[in-house]
């Protein structure tokens, strides 16, 4: 290792000047000569039989290149999915449409304005049918979403993982026995974890360029998974992977919604191949609300059984999760990710059952946290209710029921999963100390004495992320449909150029996470090289070694570890070259200050000289190959399990129901930290989205399947002005499953935040008799809850 480590030091994000000043290259910025622009004709009905599609008027318009309907693309088959349970999405549907916004026809024209005009000129005659929107109605199955399916329930996830029916029955019998004891209480609450729309600042965009002369594709797309898109395109069009290049240069936010291969990407490629010219489609904001996957959408009842003195004897969660109309990439797997952390960081027996049902709405899939925020929400809300019921401090209840630090590294959660490392009590203590917990409670009580409705809420979480192949392949997750050879390996390629500068090529890429900075730190640390001499190449399947992409807070833990290993290989060879040049022993070589030196001496050689030598084999030690680069694949044996404690102080105006967050304190633990500023930024964004769910966002549909909050006028996103200052700190419990000791941090803030805020609001309204309010806690709902509690 180098003598001066840049890991853990505060380094400013190198990519920001370009991104902030408009110098970043996003998909829609790419202009290719002769491009046709696509627009879609979309269903205004949630459920309708398409009687006829008349494209003649659109086709006759000047500047229209082509209009496609289902008949044109049926031969390609439906949209592929990783978990193909339930109905797959048709690329275009002229049969029976299943949600508002479903694509019926596609128009290509000379510019996007003409394309929109022509799409509006396509005449579609619909025969509307009743829609299934309500989850309980869907589960009841009185009306089916897909006639050819046996039921609306696609899959039921029950846990602990691996428990058979007998084991589950025994578990439940044990909890039932605890319920009937004299010294126990049972609290139960049905809660809604509402649907959300991801809304990245850059909408999805794709530009397909089929080069007939070479028989190959260049696809530019705002995607988190360029390799999977390349594999999918190859599969649809019968092309080898080396004939398809996908480029996702900069991606302006993803949050999981760009973790899908979409029908519009396949259709744009098809159109380019048919027309022999580039074809571009960029979704509009209104369109995105119904054409890009949504997240969450659960209704479930949480039940907690415990003794009067705070020993929890059982947690049960039973509910329904909304899958939408079609299964896409992960869809039914998302609630399973909730099951993964169904028992959180606790040791009590947990029974977990989630029915995944289909409805006449847009597909749900991964949205920041993906199943884990939902799971943590139910668990941490019901623990709070139980604490209140027995009159015990909520921090004490949590403390008494944690998996103790002494259980690690062999800890297995009650849900049946091996966890890497954890020290939950130390993290809780640090959070309480940082917040000044007893002082907070005293301030709250003083405010209450003045008649103010002030509340303090706390929630803790454990997350599972940074997925490695071992557990997930075992569970049946696979990217095989996308021509990916293995599931979740990480990879990295480090190359030293003849001038001594370096490039790092990675198959994972940023949608705001700062790879350009973090990866340069990992490599720069290993090579003793200034980060300014290192360029990170991401989002290009031609440049990058095969990798699966950015999601599930996996980049640093998995692909970052691969880069670390590749760096070590480069370092080892460079040490031999330096030793040769300095006439020293290889073991005495150390790296730092832009080159190598003999430890304890002034004898040194710069990276420029090492690199120059590396590319002239006659100057190298005898038998050494020329060149200086290395590739590594990293295959972790487990996921990482970050954790943390969040605390919020809120004030409610009982006259209006308005909620104001007065303080927000986060104490997160993601193991070792490569770049503190980036980690803090990830937590900031994550908390913002968690608060967004708690207070603002609601993808509410009416009974006919119309999205009522389909524009940013009505789908309320949190802005910086709506959020408090975040008081962040961290504990450091390194993981033992990767060489960097890092755990994922991209989703943690979101997983911890929503229930923290709701717990605080309920605390504020305790004296008024309010015990629960479903999110989002908009003033209307809070005020109504107060009125209901009063009567």
């Amino acid at each position: 290792m180098s003598s001066t480590s840049v890991l853990g030091g505060v380094v400013r994000r190198r990519e920001d000047p370009a991104l902030i000043r408009g110098g970043g290259l996003y998909t829609d910025d790419v202009k290719l000569a002769g491009t046709a622009h696509a627009a879609f004709v979309r269903s205004p009905y949630a459920h309708a039989r398409v009687v006829s599609v008349d494209t003649s008027a659109a086709e006759a318009m000047e500047g229209v290149a082509a209009v496609y309907t289902a008949a044109d693309v049926e031969h390609l088959g439906p949209l592929i999915a990783q978990a193909p349970v339930g109905a797959l999405r048709p690329l275009l549907n002229n049969g029976t449409v299943k949600h508002v916004g479903e694509a019926v026809a596609m128009v290509m024209a000379e510019d996007p304005y003409l394309a929109r005009d022509a799409a509006d000129a396509v005449e579609v005659d619909y025969d509307p049918l009743p829609a299934v929107v309500d989850l309980k109605e869907s589960l009841g199955g009185a009306m089916k979403v897909h006639d050819d399916m046996d039921s609306n329930t696609l899959v039921t996830w029950a846990g602990p993982f691996g428990a058979d029916e007998d084991a589950l029955a025994e578990l439940r019998a044990g909890i039932d026995a605890a319920k009937s004891r004299d010294d126990t209480v049972v609290v139960s609450q049905e809660m809604i974890n509402q649907r959300l729309i991801p809304v990245p600042i850059e909408p999805r965009s794709v530009l397909a360029d089929y080069q007939a002369g070479y028989g190959r594709f260049d696809i530019y797309s705002s995607t988190q998974i360029p390799s999977a898109l390349a594999g999918a395109i190859g599969r649809y069009f019968g092309m080898a992977l080396n004939q398809v290049t996908v480029k996702a240069m900069e991606v302006g936010g993803g949050f999981g919604c760009k973790l899908n291969v979409y029908n519009d990407e396949v259709l744009t490629a098809y159109a380019s191949k048919q027309l022999g010219r580039p074809v571009k489609w960029t979704e509009t904001r209104r369109e995105a609300a119904n054409s890009t996957i949504q997240g969450r959408g659960w209704v479930a009842t949480a039940t907690m059984t415990g003794t009067n003195d705070g020993e929890i004897l059982g947690f049960e969660l039973e509910g329904i999760a909304d899958m939408g109309a079609y299964s896409q990439n992960f869809t039914v797997a998302i609630p399973f990710l909730g099951l993964f952390v169904g028992s959180g960081q606790y040791r009590f027996p947990t029974y977990w059952k989630m029915d995944c049902v289909t409805t006449h709405t847009m597909t749900t899939d991964a949205y920041r946290g993906a199943g884990r925020p939902e799971a943590a929400y139910y668990l941490e809300r019901i623990i709070d209710m139980y604490s209140r019921e027995i009159g015990m401090d909520p921090t004490e209840v949590r403390r008494r029921n944690y998996i103790p630090a002494s259980d690690f590294p062999a800890a297995v959660s009650p849900m049946g999963f091996a966890m890497d490392t954890g020290d939950y009590e130390a993290n809780l203590d640090a959070a309480l100390e940082s917040a000044g917990w007893s002082g907070l409670l005293a301030e709250r009580d003083a405010a209450r004495a003045e008649g103010r409705c002030v509340g303090v809420g706390i929630a803790t979480y454990v997350e599972v992320c940074g997925f490695g192949p071992a557990p997930l392949v075992d569970l049946g997750f696979s990217w095989a449909e996308y021509q990916m050879p293995s599931a979740f390996n990480g990879s990295g390629l480090v190359r030293i150029h003849p001038d001594g500068s370096a490039t790092v090529s990675i198959g994972t890429g940023p949608s705001g996470q700062g790879h350009q900075t973090t990866w340069a730190q990992i490599v720069g640390d290993g090579l003793g090289m200034d980060v300014e001499r290192i360029r990170v190449i991401h989002g290009d399947t031609e440049e990058a070694p095969p990798s699966i992409g950015s999601f599930g807070s996996r980049s640093a833990a998995v692909d970052g570890s691969a880069c670390y290993e590749a760096t070590r290989k480069v370092q080892a060879k460079a040490a031999r070259i330096a030793a040769h040049l300095l006439e020293a022993s290889e073991e005495d070589i150390e790296f730092g200050d832009g080159g190598a030196r003999v430890a304890g001496t002034d004898s040194s050689v710069s990276w420029e000289e090492i690199a120059k030598t590396a590319y002239q084999p006659h100057l190298l030690p005898e038998g050494m190959e020329g060149g200086l680069e290395a590739h590594a694949i990293f295959s972790p044996g487990n996921a990482t399990w970050p954790f943390g404690t969040h605390i919020a102080v809120v004030e409610v105006d009982p006259d209006t129901g308005n909620v104001q967050i007065l303080r927000y304190i986060g104490m997160d633990d993601c193991g070792n930290v490569i770049s503190p500023m980036i980690v803090d930024g990830q937590i900031h964004g994550g908390i913002a989205q968690g608060i967004g769910q708690a207070l603002f966002e609601d993808a509410v549909y009416d009974g006919d399947g119309n999205l009522l909050a389909g524009s940013l006028m009505d789908y309320i996103l949190p802005t910086a002005a709506d959020l408090p200052f975040f008081e962040l700190d961290r504990t450091v419990t390194p993981t033992d499953i990767n060489p960097l000791g890092v755990k994922g941090i991209g989703e943690a803030g979101t997983i911890g935040a929503a229930q923290t805020v709701v717990n605080a609001v309920v605390d504020a309204l305790e004296s008024l008799g309010v015990t629960h309010i479903d999110m989002p806690l908009r003033p209307r709902r809070v005020w109504q809850a107060i009125q209901d509690a009063r009567t």
């Binding site: 304005y113 394309a115 909620v659 002005a721 709506d722 003033p779």
Partner: protein
């Protein structure tokens, strides 16, 4: 989002702009574009001609006329919010401007444009009503003055004729012992975003009692309205909290209150009363 095709003209003089409106009955006037352009992009509105008044001179000033203040058609919300003259003499309108949209919207959107757009939940109209503003509309046949009370007609409908441009909003200065205030609950909580419900009040105190009052509410019905019954109950009262709260009970008298995503009828009625009381109390405090 892509609007339908339209013609765009940016005349340099008001007469030219007004002639264009005469010749093109379907034309729309563009100032800051914060209301018009989203409607066009969503294809809810597709004018054949857009007349951009942004290059016409003389419309961008806040002018002290002695007894009144004129706000020209190109004065932005940010300028209204930061004007010390309006803060002192028409505080309700300055507050309304400061809570409109976000910083970018306030730097583009205009006070007059918001009036002309007449959104049911907008901030400017309710302040104009309470302050007793005068709307100055120009057409090729001359200038017409419209009282704010007659200006807001229906959902997104003002009293402007298609060939008229709202060139000026004129507010009377607060006299001795007078004050005004605006308060609301925004859709994203606090004062942020469109009003779920809100109220503006302008009051005058003399000899220990309320001698004049004007109160208006927004967000509750199809248009912002004067709450005449509240003003009536206030005038002659001592302006005590009890008197204000009793008066505020009439906040939606005669108004058909409508539910939306942000509030039930019951909640909106309640909020209208709460914010009427808060606005009146703040106005009384400002009146001294």
């Amino acid at each position: 989002m892509y609007p339908r095709q339209f013609e765009y003209v940016a005349p340099s003089g008001l007469d030219e702009a007004l002639a264009l409106l005469d010749d093109n009955p379907g034309a729309k006037v563009l100032a800051g574009g914060m209301s018009l352009l989203p409607l066009m992009k969503m294809r809810l509105l597709s004018p054949e001609l857009v007349v951009d008044i942004g290059r016409i001179g003389g419309l961008g000033d806040i002018t002290d006329n002695g007894d009144t203040i004129s706000i020209g058609a190109l004065v932005r919300h940010a300028e209204v919010a930061s004007s010390s003259l309006i803060q002192a003499q028409g505080a309700a309108l300055a507050a309304a401007a400061s809570w409109t949209g976000d910083r970018q919207v306030r730097n583009r959107g205009t006070c007059c444009g918001s009036m002309a757009h007449a959104d049911v939940a907008a901030d400017q109209p309710v302040a104009a009503l309470a302050l007793g503003a005068t709307m100055v509309a120009a057409s090729s046949s001359g200038v017409r003055e419209i009282a704010a009370a007659d200006f807001f007609v229906d959902v997104m409908t003002s009293a402007l004729a298609p060939n008229e441009i709202l060139t000026e909003v004129r507010i009377p200065k607060a006299g001795a012992g007078a004050g005004s205030a605006y308060d609301k609950l925004g859709r994203r909580g606090g004062h942020s975003d469109y009003a779920v419900a809100g109220a503006a009040a302008s009051v005058t105190r003399s000899n220990g009692s309320v001698s004049a009052a004007s109160v208006a509410v927004t967000g509750v019905g199809v248009r912002p309205v004067l709450a005449g019954a509240v003003a009536e109950a206030l005038v002659g009262s001592d302006g005590s909290d009890a008197a204000v709260e009793a008066a505020a009970a009439h906040a939606v008298a005669g108004v058909e209150v409508l539910e939306d995503l942000y509030g039930s009828v019951e909640y909106k009625i309640h909020l209208a009363k709460v914010f009427t009381a808060r606005a009146v109390k703040a106005a009384l405090a400002a009146a001294g």
